[in-house]
Each structure stands twice: as structure tokens, then as C-alpha cells.
């Protein structure tokens, strides 16, 4: 069943609603240092950051991970699901990003299990009892989306879209930017979200890559700030 069906579409959109306590602050942690050093100081700078963030960082990591998890779940290969979670955890080099992603995963998992029966999430919950370091947001999100029958394209597309809007919302307050500038950045990036999703559908595990060294260094430096705009 496709998310073109209205109830499914609304369901997947609601997964990203702020009422789910989903924290995408992780994405803003790296951006904060750029804003403080005035390297991101305008609409154009923010658009440049969003471009690399969607077109490189997310697509070659999170989007591939969602796709691979769907593939392994379809084959009912639980060992490979665990392997992918292990790799995703190791792939996040910066501890602050890791912790934020896990925190979001824990909140999301707890909330979902408290509101409905989910055999896959219950199994996952059991599995990570002694390895809660693997409980990243993107893993829980993928497991739930697969179980609910959301199609892969929409699962990746909405993930990218809401990551983008979250980032822009944080930037608007921190730079600061006029709301209309933020809307322009978001609207201009929509085509990119679409293209990135199309591309993600053709990528595989071996295509994972890390070119976002600047973002990593910024996230590393964030830990040593005395006062922080964004915390997890």
C-alpha cells in the first residue's frame, strides 16, 4: 500500500511532528559554529549549507541506511539489521552527534511503544536491552516505517524534508533571518530533496561516504563552547 493513500500519508507526516519529541538538534549542532563564526550569515550561506547537508551528508548516510534497512527487513534478515545498526553507530564519528541521535531514538521508541503494539519495535527493544548505544533515531524510524507499510520513497523523502525544515527553523532563530528568507531557502531546496530521494533509491551500502569534514569539526568544537544555542 502506498502513502499516496491519504491516511498513510498523514500517518508518516505525523511521525515527524514535534509532538513526537523528535530531536533534530543534532543537525543544528554542527551548524552553530558556522553561525557563530559568521560563515553562515545570510540566506545564501544557509542555502549552501542546506545543499551540502541534504545532497551529501544525509543522502550518503541516513538515506542509504533507511534503504538498506528496508531491504534487510524485507528479507527478514535480522542479523543484517543489527549489523547495519552497528555500522550506523560507528559511522557517527562525533560523540555529541551520536548522543543526540541516540536520545532521539530512545524518545521515539518509548513513545511509539507506549501508544501502540509493534512486534518489530518490541523485538528491537529486546535486542538493544544490553546495547542501547545502537538505538539511533534513524533505525527506529526505519523499523516503524517498514512495519507500517510506508513506501521507501516517501520514508526517505519525508525524512530529508523534515531534516531540512528543522535545520532552517534553527538557523532562522540563530542567524537571525527574516521568515520570508527562510521560506525561500526551504522552497528552493525542495527540488533538491526530491532529486536526493531519487538518487538515494539507486544507492547501496557500499556507496556510503563521508565528505562532511567541516561539519564534523564544527560538531566537535561545539562540545567546548561555554554557552550553547543548541543542546540535545
Amino acid at each position: 500500500m502506498s502513502t499516496n493513500d491519504s491516511p498513510k500519508l498523514l500517518h508518516i507526516l505525523h511521525m515527524h511532528h514535534s509532538s513526537f519529541l523528535k530531536s533534530q538538534v543534532a543537525h543544528a549542532i554542527g551548524m552553530e559554529m558556522y553561525i557563530r563564526s559568521k560563515q553562515i550569515n545570510s540566506k545564501e550561506d544557509l542555502a549552501s549549507f542546506c545543499h551540502s547537508y541534504i545532497g551529501s551528508y544525509l543522502i550518503y548516510n541516513d538515506a542509504i541506511m533507511i534503504k538498506e534497512l528496508f531491504l534487510k527487513l524485507k528479507k527478514n534478515d535480522w542479523d543484517q539489521v543489527l549489523y547495519l545498526a552497528e555500522i550506523y553507530n560507528a559511522r557517527k564519528n562525533v560523540l555529541e552527534l551520536k548522543k543526540t541521535s541516540r536520545q532521539a531514538g530512545n524518545r521515539f521508541l518509548d513513545r511509539l511503544l507506549s501508544i501502540e503494539e509493534s512486534p518489530i519495535l518490541s523485538k528491537w527493544s529486546e535486542e538493544i536491552k544490553d546495547r542501547d548505544s545502537l538505538n539511533h533515531y534513524v533505525i527506529v524510524y526505519s523499523l516503524y516505517a517498514f512495519e507500517k507499510g510506508f513506501d521507501l520513497f516517501s520514508t526517505i523523502q519525508t525524512y530529508l524534508y523534515f531534516s531540512l525544515t528543522n535545520l532552517v527553523q534553527h538557523a532562522v532563530r540563530a542567524i537571525p533571518l527574516a521568515p520570508k528568507d527562510a521560506e525561500q531557502v526551504t522552497l528552493e531546496a525542495l527540488a533538491e530533496v526530491d532529486q536526493a530521494t531519487e538518487l538515494a533509491m539507486t544507492l547501496h551500502f557500499k556507496d556510503m561516504q563521508n565528505s562532511a569534514i567541516g561539519l564534523e569539526i564544527s560538531a566537535m568544537q561545539h562540545k567546548y563552547l561555554l554557552s550553547k544555542l543548541f543542546i540535545s
Binding site: 560563515q39 551540502s52 551529501s56 562525533v94 569534514i213 569539526i217
Partner: protein
């Protein structure tokens, strides 16, 4: 045609290295003496376009330092390296600063896979030059396991023709990228000791992160190669000092 060669090196009588490739890989004990490390020069990694595969075991309680003799040399057009290493308990492998300088139309592909057993330690440092030529492809996967647990899976990729690299968050306009990995269940220093050795000079950025309590990763983006090397040398000398303090009693 690729052939299997076992050999070329025996470290401290027990550490073994298996090498797959036709070109000679040279490993020779260096003249320099050290209270803890036995230092070897490694040569030949950059002399062939054939895939090179190295399986390396650092035996229990050995302290090995490898120095790449070919740094500063532009890479072959096509270079493929598979480096598998198992470091047994109490042992330490220190792979000192490699410099990767892509040449025009080069395709560099390396996979470093390391397993650290129990309290084994691993240090790797590397500088990649991004501005020597505009047409290159560099891919380096650093995969570090502590038996069942994956500590790092870092598939770094730079493509000289990729417009994306210039954007915020990527390598931007920096010509040098450097990394130091230090894997240890109990690093013999405080993170502030390392942090204070990292400068934030203009056009030079450095950051350090803890790897889930199992080590640290330091990353640099810089326009100043001299400053970058100084800073890396300072950090590595500090590691050397701390390692020596601890391990001198064991050898």
C-alpha cells in the same frame, strides 16, 4: 597478474605480515632507537598500480611503529590498498603520518580494517592533499573493530571534480585534510591535554571527539601545511610520551 607472497617482514621474530602483490613491499628496521617502540620503515606502497593486500598481525605485547617512507611522493594514478590488521592484547601499532598526494587523474582506494583485542592500542595519522590537482578520486574506509563492537566506520571520499566539496560543512576551500585516530580502552591522558594542542588559527580548523570512551579522533582542515604538520607532530609526540611512560615498564 596478482600473486601471493608471504613475507618480506618479520617483526620482533613473531609479528607477521602477509602481502599480496607483485611489486616488492619493503619493510626494514629503522635505525632510530626508542625505549618502547621498535620502528620499521615501510616502502613500496606507492610503486604499483596493482591492488595491494596486506594482512598484518601485531603479536601480544609488541610495540610497533611504522613509518611510511614514501610520504611527499605523488600517488600512482591508480592505487588500491587493502590493509587488514589484527592487534593482539597488550600490543600497540603506531602508523605514523602518511601523506596522500593525489596526482592528475588518480584513483586512490584504500580500506584499513583493524581489530583491536582487549587492551590493544592503535594509532593512525594521515594527511590528504586536496589542491595539488583538480582531477582525482580519493576513497578511504577506516573500519575499526574491538572484536564484536564496531568502533569506527568512516568512508571518507573526496572527488576533485565534485562541486559539492566547496560548500559549507564539506572540505570547503581547505587544501589539506588530516586525521589522527587513537584507539585505546583507556587512553593515558585527559582530553584537555590534547585539546590545548589544537590551535584555531585563521584558515585552520581542528576538532577532537571521544569515540564512545574507546579512543579519540582528531580532524583538521587547514590551508597551512607547516602549521598542520607542527600540530600533528606535537600531538603525536605527546602520545609517544604518555605511551612510553606506561609501557617502558613492560618491555
Amino acid at each position: 597478474m596478482e600473486s601471493n607472497k608471504q613475507l618480506q617482514a618479520r617483526f620482533q621474530k613473531v609479528n607477521l605480515l602477509d602481502y599480496k602483490g607483485d611489486q616488492p613491499l619493503k619493510i626494514a628496521k629503522a635505525d632510530q632507537s626508542h625505549r618502547v617502540f621498535t620502528t620499521y620503515n615501510i616502502d613500496g606502497l606507492n610503486q604499483t598500480e596493482d591492488p595491494i593486500s596486506i594482512d598484518f598481525t601485531v603479536k601480544k605485547a609488541s610495540n610497533i611503529k611504522l613509518l611510511d617512507k614514501e610520504k611527499d611522493q605523488p600517488a600512482q594514478h591508480k592505487r588500491s590498498l587493502q590493509f587488514n590488521c589484527n592487534i593482539e592484547e597488550e600490543a600497540l601499532l603506531f602508523f605514523d603520518k602518511r601523506e596522500i598526494i593525489p596526482s592528475d587523474n588518480s584513483n586512490i582506494n584504500q580500506h584499513i580494517k583493524v581489530n583491536v583485542t582487549e587492551d590493544a592500542e592503535f594509532i593512525w595519522s594521515e594527511i590528504v592533499h586536496l589542491d595539488e590537482v583538480s582531477d582525482y578520486h580519493y576513497y578511504s574506509l577506516m573500519e575499526i573493530w574491538a572484536e564484536e563492537q564496531c568502533l569506527a566506520y568512516d568512508p571518507v571520499q573526496f572527488d576533485g571534480s565534485e562541486e559539492m566539496l566547496a560548500h559549507h560543512g564539506m572540505t570547503e576551500s581547505y587544501p589539506y585534510v588530516a586525521s589522527i585516530w587513537y584507539i585505546s580502552p583507556d587512553p593515558p591522558f585527559d582530553e584537555w591535554d590534547v585539546q590545548q594542542r589544537l590551535s584555531q588559527a585563521k584558515n585552520h580548523r581542528a576538532g577532537m571527539t571521544d569515540i564512545d570512551g574507546k579512543g579519540i579522533l582528531i580532524r583538521w582542515l587547514s590551508t597551512d601545511l607547516t602549521l598542520l604538520k607542527q600540530e600533528m607532530d606535537d600531538v603525536l609526540a605527546f602520545f609517544d610520551e604518555k605511551i612510553t611512560e606506561l609501557r617502558k615498564w613492560r618491555v
